[in-house]
């Protein structure tokens, strides 16, 4: 009986707390709704990012990008009607379930008026569904997996130059155009089981195959049990000239280390994602090991795209350091796309966000990544930059007009540039 009484008391206390919590929310919302018309009331822009878990490196960078945008928009008089922006950012823990509840909560509880996307195809896949169902514009900074755009969504736009299957195109064409004696004859494709990494490596394989570069090894590994030493040893036995590794950060680093352990140095090494993470990558595998590693990248801090200098300056002012992570730049560009659509159409009302989407389908937007435009399904129609590590620094080597270095190192030279 005594116990029962305590239980009832505890339940009552919880119920009271919950009621108080809801009440607080209601008040906020009422105020927010009413103040929407008045100028100066902040516009809540919501996003959920993988700040912890597997994708936490890019997730944290994306958060910085959004914060730089928020600061810059607010410095220049707000997004629309002089209203400043207030980012509401949640942590989805790199989890596909959490991200769904996060975006639902952003819309229904936090009452955000605009959304921004999250990092990686894996998470954008479910998150974009929530946005589509709520008829809210969803521009994403990463998430180039082709399957994202096979669903006929009307509110989804990818703010990079191309989808994953085309990410390695420029580099693959460079390789197949090499003179016969320099061109690799065989290739290996160890790939993480991931909706972004896989199509990228398949896209490259398709181009290579057409040019007669034989596939001698292809395998898929999972993030929690990569067994990279075994893969490195299996590849070593096949002696491929080029290794194309579809990777995210931790496994990308692990793959390079496994290759070093196995004592196997393919002539060329191409990785997705990991090499674009700057200092962290160099620190993790050792600076001298980076020499000549290729990757695709969307942003260069030296690029002369409109607003890039200001962005880089603001980023360094806010977060220090000399490097600007690619994912921060992508997030910033994503927000630029949203901003351009809002400015052009002149509304952020919930039931009119289809107009924002329609505008994006018909217009080109100038971003720090260069001009972006989209097809009917929100797929970007541009080309990626090709990056390469040279003397411990990530450089842009292709296309020629965007290059920051005038040479391309033909081979992977771990152990020093000499």
């Amino acid at each position: 009986m005594q116990k029962l009484r305590w239980l009832v008391l505890a339940l009552l206390a919880v119920a009271a707390l919950a009621a108080a919590g809801c009440g607080g929310d209601d008040d906020d919302n009422g105020g927010g709704g009413g103040g929407g018309k008045a100028s100066g009331e902040p516009i809540k822009v919501g996003a959920s990012l993988p700040l912890t878990g597997e994708f936490s490196e890019p997730g944290k960078a994306a958060k910085q990008g959004y914060e730089v945008w928020q600061a810059m928009v607010n410095d220049s008089g707000g997004l629309i009607d002089g209203r400043p922006v207030k980012m509401v950012i949640k942590d989805d823990q790199s989890n596909q379930n959490t991200i769904v509840s996060d975006y639902n909560a952003l819309i229904s509880q936090d009452k955000v008026e605009l959304l921004l996307g999250t990092f990686s195809s894996l998470l954008n896949l479910p998150a974009s569904t929530v946005a589509e169902r709520n008829r809210m514009l969803y521009v994403e900074p990463a998430g180039g997996a082709p399957e994202l755009f096979d669903r006929g969504f009307k509110y989804l736009f990818f703010a990079q130059q191309a989808t994953a299957d085309k990410q390695g195109e420029v580099w693959a064409n460079y390789v197949t155009d090499l003179p016969d004696n320099e061109r690799p004859k065989t290739a290996a494709y160890p790939t993480l089981d991931d909706p972004f990494a896989q199509p990228t490596s398949e896209g490259i394989e398709a181009i290579f195959k057409k040019a007669g570069i034989k596939t001698v090894y292809r395998s898929t590994y999972t993030i929690d049990n990569p067994n990279l030493d075994g893969i490195a040893s299996a590849m070593k036995a096949k002696k491929p000239d080029v290794v194309v590794n579809g990777a995210t950060f931790e496994d990308g680093v692990g793959m390079v280390r496994a290759l070093r352990k196995a004592g196997f140095t393919p002539k060329m090494l191409y990785q997705t994602t990991a090499p674009s993470l700057g200092d962290q990558y160099a620190k993790a595998i050792g600076k001298e090991t980076t020499e000549g590693i290729f990757y695709a990248v969307s942003h260069s801090k030296e690029a002369e795209t409109p607003g890039n200098t200001e962005f880089v300056k603001k980023y360094q002012e806010m977060f220090g350091g000399t490097e600007v992570p690619e994912d921060a730049a992508d997030a910033y560009a994503t927000a630029q796309v949203l901003q351009a659509a809002v400015k052009a159409v002149g509304t952020i009302e919930r039931d009119k966000q289809i107009e924002l989407a329609d505008w994006l389908r018909e217009n080109e937007v100038d971003t720090i990544l260069g001009p972006l435009s989209w097809d009917e399904l929100g797929r970007p129609e541009g080309e990626f930059l090709v990056g390469q590590w040279q003397s411990g620094v990530p450089e842009i080597v292709l296309p020629k007009e965007a290059a920051t270095s005038d040479k391309i190192i033909p081979e992977w030279q771990p152990g020093g540039s000499g």
Binding site: T52, G53, E54, S56, E57, Q93, S94, P190, D193, S219, T220, Y221, T222, D224, N225, P226, N227, D229, G230, I231, S233, A234, K236, A237, F249, E250, G254, R257, R260, K261, A262, G263, A284, I285, G286, T289
Partner: protein
């Protein structure tokens, strides 16, 4: 042939480390009939502590074992007194639930302290290998395997030669009989649990160099370790060593000849086959309740 030998070597090296990790689990089961689902979490905890020590002082993760083993031993003893001890005589299902809860709790705590991000310890030798002709033996695995053998041998000697070891074995075989001859089974159980957690401390320090880890990695590890002790025979230390070497080699062979995506399933395949063909495992003896129903 080179490919096969290489897979065999890598499998045996990693198997040695698995053996150390599984030894604590099988010991705790043997003596107390407790299936310690939190074993994986203990090992990840040890890996995180190793990482912090390595970050702060640059101390070699394998040298950190000297610190971690007693530290985890003490932690295990304390944890036993607070949580597992009170339900020692309850049916095994209770201990499964309890230790599963412990694992979730530790996962949460580690997430708060170290963040839910992937970590790995990278001493200078972690990208080097010893080479024999075409074959390579990664230094980290070799050192890790050697340390694992030393710790395992010590554990074996303690079990076989010391009074504590005899008391542990007596308590495992016949608790009532042990009580009769003056063994305090309750405190032996506490010490066994602490020894088991201590070995997870040593294993965790080694694993931190070989695999990247995050708080949630313990699920993968406990699956692997349970597969090992089911194969080797639950409660048998030599069985755990054999099971671990088999699993290590089977994983590497799978990676080499079938595909890395299938390696995750290897421990489960082990469990299925063992349960169908030889439920007591390679070196396990049938439990009394099995015999009674047989």
């Amino acid at each position: 042939m080179t490919e096969f030998l290489q897979a065999l070597i890598l499998g045996l090296l990693i198997g040695g480390v698995y053996a150390l990790l599984a030894s604590g689990l099988t010991l705790i089961f043997g003596v107390m009939n407790v299936i310690n689902i939190a074993h994986g979490a203990f090992l990840i905890l040890a890996a995180f502590v190793t990482w912090s020590i390595w970050r702060a002082t640059g101390l070699d993760p394998l040298a950190a074992i000297v610190l971690l083993t007693p530290l985890m031993f003490a932690f295990g003893w304390l944890l036993y007194k607070i949580t597992v001890g009170p339900i020692r005589t309850a049916p095994p299902a209770a201990s499964v639930l309890l230790t599963f809860g412990l694992a979730l709790f530790l996962e949460g705590v580690m997430g708060v302290i170290w963040g839910n991000t992937s970590h790995s310890v990278r001493p200078a030798y972690s990208t080097d290998s010893f080479r024999i002709g075409e074959l390579f033996l990664p230094k980290a695995q070799v050192y890790g395997g050697l340390v694992a053998i030393v710790v395992l041998a010590t554990l074996y000697l303690v079990l076989m030669r010391s009074w504590l070891g005899r008391a542990i074995r007596a308590s495992a075989v016949n608790p009532q009989g042990a009580e009769l001859v003056g063994v305090n089974v309750a405190s032996v159980a506490a010490l066994t649990f602490a020894v088991g957690v201590g070995s997870a401390g040593a294993g965790g320090a080694i694993a931190s160099v070989l695999y990247p880890f995050l708080p949630g990695s313990h699920y993968q590890w406990i699956a692997r370790l349970l597969g090992i002790i089911v194969l080797g025979g639950m409660g048998s230390l030599p069985g755990a060593v054999i099971g671990a070497l088999c699993l290590g080699v089977a994983e590497l062979m799978t990676v080499t000849y079938i595909g890395p995506e299938w390696a995750t399933g290897v421990p489960y395949v082990f469990v299925f086959i063992v349960l169908l063909v030889r439920p007591q495992g390679i070196l396990g003896t049938r439990l009394r309740q099995d015999v009674a129903t047989a």
